[in-house]
Amino acid sequence: MKDAPLVLGIETSCDETGVGIVHGTELLFDAIASSVDEHARFGGVVPEVASRAHLEAMVPTIERACQEAGVALSDLDGISVTSGPGLAGALMVGVASAKALAVALGKPLYGVNHLASHVAVDIVEHGPLPEPTMAMLVSGGHSSLLLVPDVTHDIRSLGSTIDDAAGEAFDKVARVLGLPFPGGPHIDRAASDGQITIDFPRGLSSRKDMERHRFDFSFSGLKTAVTRWVQSEQAAGRDVPVADVAASFQEAVVDVLTRKAVLACTEYDVAALQVGGGVAANTRLRAMAQQRCDDAGIALRVPRPGLCTDNGAMVASLGAQMMIKGRPASDLSLPADSSLPVTDVQTGLPVHVDHDHAH
């Protein structure tokens, strides 16, 4: 692709400092520095610790991405950056750094939505996104079902969690079972040795809920059910079958997620489902999504696990799409917006250019 834009993307919305470089639809390199170990003793991400780590890692990560990609900063055609949603102080480090690159290099800047980037990353993995695509984003921070007619400017939210994110449920249940943080990979591993022996509740799946919360999720009740079950076993003096509980819990989460995602595809007549976010690394989720999509004649797209979690490549991929599709650059005064709605795919847009921007 001779004329494909060369874009560097920066992601700092949580505890990963990510810098990715994408050439059109080809990923050249994805550099990540994580402060996850520094947060482990708090049992979760401490914003100030994350922000300090971003500042320390920012320039070294940019440098490493360029080196590994064999790209000089002056070769870039554009810069993109996650401008929200996320931790305010963490976002600001990435946004300020991206602006400094844009100013120093005289290149256009694209402030982009973190969730939209999760969708766009699949372009570097599996090629152009079918339009529309259905996207399910499941992580410690989000659980969303999105209809995506155009990832560069038209994303519609069909549903999301009404309480905990899917990844939060994994963390909480891991804690109940005495497994380490973050819970996702540990539950997955434990479940692979277990049997689905317990019928845990499927949130928001009753007939009434399917009217009011058709594409929403709820994991808080499930979390409580698992906790109660474990406590009653302990109270009865029995050993908790950790592997079986993990497998049964995981099955309940994955069942609801995949059932609603496939239903959304069917009802909206969408032929492709993309799954992203950290929970997309879950092996049972991948297997069940594959089976149900196959049965329904839907193409399933799941990026490799390293691209499902937060990274810079996803931001670069969305930035490259914006350049390919001729979207206007963002204004240098764009803010970091910790509660940016998913429908705002790009930030810092001049108002008069923004005719077709769905709100």
Binding site: G43, P47, G89, V95, A100, V103, F181
Partner: protein, 252 residues
């Protein structure tokens, strides 16, 4: 020499270009909340006013604080990234030095207290001695409640927002030549940097946080006797931090 200097440690977002002899242009906006939005456009504005392109900048200088963390980091990461993108060095200057230098240049003679807003009812402070237009630091910068400062320190003529915020405790606001010295001026900071660069001084860019982030971990106590879940804790921390971010500071 063309120094691009910036500081975000006080209530000013301030940028200047300096040629080693004099300030070519300087711009400041008083807004302690919108560093992320305003700093980059201000840099473009100053470069244009100084008729200097990014390629012509030879050094970057940045105030390393102490200052409210969130804004401070915006300045530091901007300076570091700009310098990296241009393949030039970035140099750190203690932000309080810039306030002392401003007082010295305006003719103040003798000891001086620099006291800036540290939020959470505290000030960042250090003493300086000004002689014939030059200044010398007498302390490492520290963060303290103004009431806890020794009387002889509080009795000194004071620059920075301290006297403005705590007039009863820091009663001796200094306004040399009628000029209030409340916030850092990047033009002054650029001058300090240019002299130190010429002298070959080591100018580290480590932020002067002066508070540990661990303070955040002891944050809000939930009412439940069972103790918070990690996620509850995390959510509380995050909320507290978001509040803190609006205040420019993580809570204790």
């Amino acid at each position: 020499m063309r120094v691009l200097a910036m500081d975000t440690a006080t209530s000013a977002i301030t940028v200047a270009v300096h040629d080693g002899q004099a300030v070519l242009a300087t711009r400041s906006t008083i807004d302690a909340r919108r560093h992320t939005e305003l700093l980059a456009p201000l840099i473009l504005e100053v470069l244009a006013a100084a008729r200097t392109t990014p390629e012509e900048i030879t050094h970057v200088a940045v105030g390393t604080g102490p200052g409210p963390f969130t804004g401070l980091r915006v300045g530091l990461v901007t300076a570091q990234t700009f310098a990296h993108a241009r393949g030039i060095a970035v140099h750190g200057v203690c932000s309080l030095d810039a306030l002392a230098a401003a007082a010295a240049r305006l003719g103040h003679e003798g000891d001086l207290l620099v006291a800036t807003d540290a939020r959470r009812k505290e000030v960042y402070w250090a003493r300086y001695r000004c002689t014939a237009g030059e200044f010398e630091a007498l302390d490492e910068p520290t963060v303290t409640r103004p009431a806890d400062l020794p009387d002889e320190v509080r009795a000194l003529p004071t620059v920075g927002r301290g006297p403005d915020l705590y007039p009863d405790l820091l009663p001796h606001a200094l306004a040399p030549g009628g000029t209030d010295l409340l916030d850092v001026d990047a033009g002054v900071l650029a001058g300090i940097a240019a002299a130190r660069i010429a002298a070959g001084e080591d100018m580290p860019i480590e932020p002067l946080y002066l508070r540990r982030p661990d303070a955040v971990a002891s944050a809000p106590k939930p009412k439940s006797s069972r103790g918070p879940s990690p996620r509850q804790q995390q959510r509380d921390l995050r909320r507290a931090a978001e509040r803190g971010a609006r205040d420019g500071e993580a809570p204790q």
